[in-house]
């Protein structure tokens, strides 16, 4: 998948727009927000406080939503959460569900379960709608269809909606507006994710630009919110920095078009709004991460997708190559921790550790640190996370290399041998195109630079000392 994506010029063109419009902009916006001070540290403090006191925050949120007549369910696993949603749907004899964008619903495979139960499930976010029509998964946390160009969307709508072909984004948007309005006005149940919540007032906070989330949370008679247990804020005061950083990081906006605070069913005196409100708080591996102080930081993430927009690896391989709803640098840490580090080893090993993700992260998540740590666990094995050492040979080779590096004589002998030996290897444009034996894996996807004719140490020894002071 990734190997194919690397060659996909169409994909790179589409992703380049993301990088140019959002990636480069986010850091500038942080500076404008508070010149001379890093607002990311304030946002991080707010997130850390919640994660470090998650029990208190969860209990308060649940109590306040229940006090308003809402239902709260804590789901231990994805299956548990899916089961709960299906139960609510069956009780209300739901025929059609409209969904607001929710990565958590992708994580727990909710759509498949609803469809299997005979419930029509319609994604209403334009990007999600496009990938759903295509029968695909989203390729970006906040821009799910970013891997498509406008003419591909035009062809899709012509085929699936029976509309005349156009590649004009406003016309295409109007087509989706028309097709989805009908669905949103006739659905029996709305399911949305949440961007954060306010424990103290008992509200879930959902941002959107399209208005589809307001539709899904206002028009159907039942509204169900799916929220990771960690994605809560304690107070409205904490929302100040958190929301401002979230919208800047996600889309370069000072605020999104709609910020909805929802925390219960409508009152009797309100003529509209859902008559039933459910909040499903999903653990699904998060409390296990919480228990490890080395990785607890990853739970500070606000799922803005900012780290995708600057990641050189994401830009080359696109979101689908990660094989998980959470792609990019955040996915490379979060997915192995929830699905198994050995099984997802390529995710943490495929990153460059360049540090761009940390720089753009609105909560200054140290993803490179956690990526390195995952690699350590793969090399040495780890009992807490049930990690088996990945390769004894690799460990042996790198162990030997480390010894060689620390001994001048051994290093000189080895490099001299290699300098003579490398003349036998095939070359392309002056680079070695194939290494021998087990080292061949390295050159399968890239070339290797040959050793210089003369080593640096030798050149240094015979350098022209008279030029030093010139």
């Amino acid at each position: 998948m990734a190997a194919k994506a690397v060659q996909d010029e169409q994909l790179h063109k589409a992703l380049g727009k993301l990088r140019d419009k959002f990636g480069r902009n986010a850091v500038n916006l942080y500076h404008q927000l508070s010149p001379g001070h890093d607002p990311r540290q304030d946002a991080k403090a707010v997130r850390r406080k919640v994660v470090d006191n998650l029990d208190v925050v969860l209990e308060t949120l649940a109590a306040n939503i229940r006090a308003r007549g809402g239902h709260v369910h804590l789901a231990e696993t994805g299956e548990d959460a899916v089961e709960y949603c299906l139960g609510v749907a069956k009780r209300h004899e739901v025929a059609r569900v409209v969904k607001g964008k929710s990565m958590l619903s992708e994580e727990i495979h909710l759509n498949d379960a609803l469809e299997a139960a005979g419930i029509e499930t319609v994604e209403t976010d334009l990007g999600e709608y496009i990938v759903q029509l295509k029968g695909e998964a989203p390729s970006h946390i906040i821009a799910p269809a970013i891997h498509y160009t406008r003419d591909q969307v035009g062809e899709l709508f012509a085929e699936k909606l029976g509309e005349p072909y156009t590649d004009d984004p406003p016309t295409l948007t109007a087509m989706a507006r028309k097709a989805l309005r009908e669905k949103m006005l006739t659905a029996d149940m709305g399911i949305s994710g949440g961007n954060t919540a306010c424990a103290e007032t008992g509200h879930v906070t959902i941002v959107s630009n399209e208005g589809n989330i307001r539709m899904a949370t206002t028009m159907p008679k039942v509204h169900v919110v799916l929220l990771g247990i960690e994605k809560i804020a304690a107070t409205l005061e904490d929302h100040d920095i958190l929301l401002r950083m979230l919208t800047r990081a996600a889309a370069g906006q000072k605020i999104s078009t709609y910020v909805s605070y929802v925390g219960g069913p409508r009152l009797d005196e309100e003529p509209d709004g859902p008559e039933e409100f459910h909040l499903v708080l999903v653990d699904n591996g998060r409390s296990r991460i919480l228990a490890d102080p080395d990785f607890r930081e990853v739970l500070h993430c606000v799922r803005c997708g900012g780290c995708l927009n600057v990641c050189p690896v994401y830009m080359s391989i696109g979101g689908h190559s990660y094989g998980s709803p959470y792609c990019g640098p955040i996915g490379a840490v979060f997915t192995p921790l929830t699905r198994g580090i050995n099984d997802c080893h390529h995710l943490c090993q495929g990153e460059t550790l360049c540090g761009a993700c940390k720089q753009v992260c609105p909560v200054d998540n140290d993803l490179p640190r956690m990526l390195s740590l995952l690699r350590f666990k793969l090399a040495d094995g780890d009992r807490r996370w049930n990690v088996k050492p990945q390769s004894r040979i690799a460990k042996l080779v790198f162990g030997a290399w480390s010894v060689v590096m620390r001994h001048r004589g051994a290093y000189n002998v080895l490099t001299t041998l290699a300098r003579f030996g490398q003349v036998l290897l095939p070359r392309k444009n002056g680079w070695i195109s194939r290494l021998p034996g087990p080292l061949g894996g390295w050159t399968r996807g890239r070339d290797f630079p040959p050793l210089a004719k003369e080593s640096f140490a030798r050149r240094w020894a015979r350098r022209d000392t008279t030029r030093r002071d010139a």
């Binding site: 969860l58 630009n209 208005g211 100040d240 509209d272």
Partner: protein
């Protein structure tokens, strides 16, 4: 429920009832204070400018009116000028609110365009709810006021409640908001402080301009699923 909370406590190595809640929900002094401070005339001047500037980028049309009478006439003129997006019926749905009563839209548009008001009652039957819903769907313009107008981002804060249906600012193609200038606040922080100081309903929405999307090639398009056109009438000074 308690099992997961218990597991979270174990993961954190903490115990229930150890007084951490005081720390977690503590508020800074300046936050509590800023709900009670009044802005200077100079600050307020800057706010109007900020709203105009933000609105331009958002495709939000701002109209400044000296009083409700002038505003009512302007809203009526706008309603006559626009055509419905879905169907041909010209019908307006508005919140039940004294400010909107003051616009006199019913009289100004009599015989021309139907102006409906959100019903006010202690409770509604299923039939009444459906009838109201049909009326909102059939309306091409929704008129609301707002509890607060946030100058920094040109955002409206709408609290749900009696006579203040949520769908009015959402389902019609055009959203018109009529807000007294006295309801302006400077910053998001101050807005949150004001909200924090009151008992909040189950639904609270901040609205900043007409609905939009950038999901096709990151190209900005206005009019996704919410209103495609939005007007803000600021009344008084």
């Amino acid at each position: 429920m308690s099992r997961i909370i218990e597991r979270v406590r174990q993961a954190l190595g903490v115990r229930a009832g150890d007084g951490r809640d005081r720390l977690v929900f503590a508020k800074s002094e300046d936050f509590a204070r800023c709900a009670n401070t009044t802005a200077t005339a100079e600050e307020r001047d800057g706010w109007m400018e900020s709203i105009r500037k933000e609105a331009k980028a958002l495709n939000l049309r701002v109209h400044e009116c000296p009083d409700l009478d002038v505003c009512g006439e302007a809203v009526a003129a706008l309603a006559r000028e626009r055509d419905p997006e879905w169907g041909t019926l010209k019908q307006i749905m508005r919140w039940s609110d004294p400010i909107l009563d003051g616009l006199g839209l019913e009289g100004r548009l009599a015989g021309d365009i139907a102006v409906k008001t959100v019903p006010v009652a202690d409770s509604f039957t299923q039939t009444e709810r459906q009838a109201f819903r049909d009326e909102v769907v059939a309306s091409y313009i929704g008129v609301t006021t707002a509890d607060h107008l946030l100058a920094d981002t040109a955002s409206l804060a709408l609290l749900g409640g009696r006579g203040r249906a949520r769908s009015v600012s959402l389902v019609p193609s055009i959203h018109i908001a009529v807000v007294p200038a006295s309801r302006m606040v400077g910053s998001y922080r101050r807005l949150l402080a004001l909200l924090d100081a009151r008992d909040l309903p189950s639904n609270l929405t901040l609205i900043t301009g007409p609905s939009k999307t950038a999901d096709i090639e990151a190209t900005l398009v206005h009019g996704a699923h919410g209103p495609r056109e939005m007007h803000l009438f600021i009344v008084g000074s």
